[in-house]
Assembly symmetry: C2
Homo-oligomer: 301 residues x 2
């Protein structure tokens, strides 16, 4: 079943202790689309400037339908950051919104009955606008960030009432709820709307707070981390792709979502192994199957 | 089968955002002894000063044989620390060694054929001295810290060759090996001696790097954290208690150690729920069984 993803299609300038990459393909929708591995199919909504390279659009186009990516005059969204030696902490050096500043997502009419919707981390008013256009998706997942929790709390609360799965990190879960305990924070978020809450913990894995159960999925242990940018969006792509492939809707039991957590985790594990989407692109089905087996061994005593 | 634990029996002054506790029972051997839940039996080796309260010795004595705890003139080891608001980060305010400065562990003759030995975090020369006194234990586990890795690396390396299980945190694993990747660090440690490496990650759980497999155990998610001091030693107590109860020696397959990781994790989960050993003492068998069931549900998709 189809997935619509709405998010950024961008350029990232990334500096790691070993290397610097200038204006490489990035953005939440790009990572998500490649990560979903054609399981959707995936339909991509975003905006790029006239500086966006045709080959980058083509790359996304090999994994997703890009008819929803508008190309307009101006510069593409550009994020620039520098990673610390641990390849976990990072400093944002610049965020140039470019054409993204005036982004008003348009969902092609033929896409509005897509069954799955992933609202990547953009302004909650835009997220709400997209959701308004959809005709009753089976499942809506949403990502957000500190900025929206702090600056547009009411808009965020309003859309959360219409969301099935919220993806946040630990700090965001605490900021959103004022609860220090993750257990209490997850319960408070569930009371706001999303019956399922995924807490992303980076190299420590992710937690799924379901209706009746909690699942803790460890991150796979990597020999080498090159560039972790986008891993969270890759997790979302793998997770939503898994749900869409299996036809799991909001009414499904926790067990269905627990399985999708593994797919999200395996998918995300390839991301940090290369710059941009390079790690994802290197992952073939055999490598995917091996990691899924490794992950199961890591999880079940 | 019997476990000998050698470590500190101490007083902790702990300040949390909510409360301050002055000179409460602490020390690695104390936490370990209570945490092992009589599974050993546990035999405790340490030293206290003449300021040590009889009721505190009695408390340890209800869970372990304390014939190896010497009482000598002077002040007991005293650690003082202040936790940050997250109840994870902490600052050490004072470390007064007192009688611990001249601690030369003596193992009662009748204890030297104990099957299990836990060398808590003390000077590696003392750890080696204890190991020399033992008559071929079935399994030796060792904890250490940055201080010894940095100041006595050769002594530490020498004893690691005789150790079966090393318990460290992430930073210590990296410092000890110079490897940023935990996978590489664990492999490097295994090459130094310990066939099994446990990487403790606090609220993110723990990893067991076995001979042929890796297990990631999440921490249980607590409603309320009061004082996390000692949780690592409680993990060790639960882990070693489990091995001793099942009679698991160094030659056993990974599976036996994987099971013990769950016992360590459940045991450690009670520690932060109270000051000192109060959380541990409140945990009855029913609560233990409930948490073990919860942990399994958290782990297996």
């Amino acid at each position: 079943m189809s997935i619509v993803v709405v998010g950024s299609v961008a350029y990232d300038t990334v500096e790691t202790p070993r290397e610097r990459r200038e204006r490489q393909l990035g953005g939440s929708a790009s990572f998500f689309a490649v990560a979903a591995r054609g399981r959707g199919p995936v339909r991509c909504v975003g905006v790029v400037g006239d500086d966006f390279r045709a080959e980058d659009l083509d790359l996304i186009g090999r994994h997703a339908d890009i008819a929803g990516i508008a190309r307009v005059p101006g510069r593409s969204f550009h994020w620039s950051g520098r990673y610390h030696a641990d390849l976990i902490e990072r400093d944002t050096l610049a965020t140039e919104l470019g054409v993204f500043a005036d982004f008003r997502p348009e969902i092609p009419a033929a896409w509005r009955d897509s069954e799955y919707l992933f609202l990547a981390n953009i302004h909650p008013a835009l997220q709400a606008g997209v959701l308004d256009l959809m005709r009753g998706p089976r499942l809506v997942a949403l990502d957000t960030m500190n900025l929206w929790i702090e600056t547009t709390p009411d808009l965020l609360r309003a859309i959360l009432r219409r969301v099935d799965v919220l993806l946040v990190n630990e700090g965001e879960a605490r900021l959103l709820t004022g609860e220090r305990s993750l257990a209490r924070a997850a319960a408070a978020i569930a009371a706001m709307g999303p019956a399922r809450v995924i807490v992303k913990k980076g190299e420590h894995g992710a937690l799924l707070f379901g209706r009746e159960s909690v699942l803790a999925v460890p991150a796979l242990i990597l020999d080498d981390v090159v560039d972790p940018t986008g891993a969270g969006d890759c997790f979302a792509g793998g997770f939503m792709g898994s749900l869409a492939q299996a036809g799991v809707g909001r009414e499904a039991p926790d067990a269905a979502f627990r399985q999708a957590m593994l797919d999200g985790t395996v998918t995300a594990s390839f991301c940090p192994e290369g710059f941009s989407v390079e790690g994802l692109l290197r992952a073939d089905d055999a490598a995917y199957a091996r990691r899924l087996a490794t992950l199961r061994t890591m999880m079940c005593p």
